[in-house]
Symmetry: C2
Subunit: 391 residues, 2 copies
């Protein structure tokens, strides 16, 4: 189905953070309206606003479990999309059915990714290699897991973790009880253990897909620091055979969830050259921010095209190399950009600030992207430019 481009066509975003904001920018370019459903806005007269809420007069405060409010929101939109995965699939299914408004990624896709355990099951059954994992209910399960895969390993909340929140590294059996308790396993939260993978690199591929076709962006390398993405290098400096394998796995994974929208897949590249699918996201992803300037059509443009049912745009890179550096808050204060920002004078360096009201240490406040011709100089320069900015 294709949704018509008219001045009355409204794209609804569940969530109003930076991903929604960057997607909305593409919707505006097509002449569309956007509406923001924000879980953090308490009331219409709440003066504080999430990033997307500064970009639209159409604001719907509400919690993500308020079925009535979600249905009302969906009814006012022509298509609804998500900017995070912390939503209940069955609820989304009811919202779609009751409102008559399509939701992409579909509730069906969403349900296959709804917890880390379901996600792993979905991909494993589709023949995609994933990190070894087990559901963990008690210390007995942890003992068995350690016996099979050794120490250290990672214990994770099956739902709701991000950027390292909801993860604990377990290195000795003395940590078992506390690890389960710290993630709420003793309160009935579903936990999974994942084997620790001694990887060479972390890779990512973004895929856009709808009934008109599927496109996959170049395989990029992601560098994490304290479980938060710090740097993305595109394309990844790897054997082209590995890049092609990552691309194939990402396409297969998108098929496995029958995805309509934009999806990101993160892989571990092992020392033997093998790949394991580590994580997936049913939405534009930090690993794909470089595509805004780096590719002919960005992940955000293709997200919007995909959910509207339009043919997808070219994923070709504009220049040989793109490096993205995240700008994490280093202060707790009202958000602002400090520093000399020499970036402004550097050709093909681009600053993105997300419009969050408050800076907090470690919070993603923005990013920079630098395009250029060779990996070494672009990586070095991008790091230097990012270091000159304080938020």
């Amino acid at each position: 189905m294709t949704i018509s481009l008219s001045a009355n066509t409204t794209i609804g975003f569940l969530g109003a953070g930076q991903l929604a904001r960057m997607s909305a920018a593409e919707a505006f370019r097509m002449g569309l309206k956007t509406a923001a459903y924000s879980g953090s806005a308490k009331r219409m007269d709440d003066p504080s606003r999430q990033p997307l809420e500064w970009m639209t007069p159409l604001r719907f405060p509400g919690t993500f479990d308020d079925e009535t409010a979600l249905i009302r929101f969906a009814k006012s939109c022509d298509v609804v999309t998500l900017e995070n995965e912390f939503l209940n699939g069955a609820l989304l299914e009811r919202v779609e059915a009751e409102s008559g408004t399509p939701i992409y990624p579909s509730p069906g896709t969403f349900q296959r990714l709804e917890s880390k355990w379901l996600e792993k099951e979905t991909f494993r059954k589709a023949g995609i290699p994933v990190t070894p994992y087990r559901i963990i209910e008690d210390t007995g399960d942890l003992k068995e897991f350690a016996a099979e895969f050794g120490f250290p390993f990672v214990l994770k909340s099956s739902k709701g973790g991000y950027d390292g929140y909801g993860n604990v590294t377990v290195s000795t059996k003395e940590q078992f009880t506390e690890a389960i308790r710290s993630l709420g396993g003793d309160q009935g939260r579903e936990l999974i253990a994942e084997a620790f993978i001694a990887f060479e690199k972390e890779l990512a591929v973004q895929v856009a897909r709808n009934h008109t076709g599927t496109v996959a962006y170049p395989c990029c390398e992601t560098i994490q620091k304290n479980h938060i993405c710090q740097t993305v290098i595109a394309p990844a400096k790897i054997d082209p055979v590995v890049a092609e394998e990552a691309r194939s796995l990402a396409l297969a994974a998108t098929e496995a969830i029958d995805g309509t929208g934009l999806f990101a897949f993160e892989f571990f590249l092992k020392s033997d050259g093998g790949l394991l699918l580590n994580e997936s996201a049913p939405r534009p992803h930090n690993s794909g921010h470089y595509t805004i300037e780096g590719c002919i059509a960005s992940q955000f443009e293709n997200h919007i095209r995909a959910i509207l049912g339009l043919p997808l745009g070219s994923v070709e890179m504009r220049r040989p190399v793109a490096v993205m550096e995240n700008l994490l808050g280093i202060h707790n204060r009202p958000a602002r950009v400090d520093g000399d920002t020499p970036l402004w004078s550097v050709k093909d360096a681009h600053l993105h600030v997300y419009g969050k009201e408050e800076s907090r240490t470690g919070r993603k406040m923005g990013h920079i992207t630098l395009l250029g011709d060779d990996h070494i100089s672009v990586q070095r320069k991008a790091k230097q430019l990012a270091d000159e900015i304080a938020m």
Copy 2:
């Protein structure tokens, strides 16, 4: 002066059409807020909105002669900019003084361009060749003008004309009385006559300038149809010496008005290779829309950088050729995009729709830009893609 980039920094736009909308998109990328002062919005509860008003919750309905409302608006912003030139310079000066908020382009710059007559005087005195012109008060003035420059010539409202509105071509002396009457000259409106120039091509150069420096975009060719810009070809296919001369004149013209912001200058290229400055605009301009995808930093990004006092971005083109085609309304109806839009499947073709609520015959509803490697194929393909879209 540099305005700090903070989540509370607000850029106010006087006017809320497509130029404000495309500029605002760049402000959002920098994490800023935008506010829209719209002359067409009658009240806060008016449900119809101008293009920018769909992109911000900060909406200020008011007329462009309401000093109190303008001051209130400016006080709520950190910097104010304009998207059209139909404003009163003395009023802007008072608004700036009373609110304490800088306005760019400055009221002083604005006053030098405030009428076609003042504009011509400003540039002529700076040694920039302009189309011959005279103030016209009565048919006697027209007679003298015709005697000096011959028929046909153009009679124009000195203030408020755009896209051919406010212009009359005068071909015989029998048309004198009606020409003056049709433009309100008999009601005291200031009119100027301009000699008809048998030009080879029309050219344009956009310039961004602030205290950090000045940049000029590549000289492009504009093709008008019924006085409305139809096609822009960048770079213009002309002798490099002429392109450099156009660039020099555009820089000199920006100096002559002491401009801070983004300015566009349109030239006639005569058959003898000489250039005449025909029109100027103290704002992003239709001739520069191609820069969004065509250049590393677009005219809109440099507009925002200029008024914030930031160093200006690179005007280098991303590919050898960019062609922009305007999409004019061919229906009177609620706005929507019809047609198969084969553009979506063409690499480096980009559609922009302005988010106007109503389509009207001849109204600028959007544009497309196609990037490529050679003039002939890109021009042909761009025309074909634009023809497939009906709005």
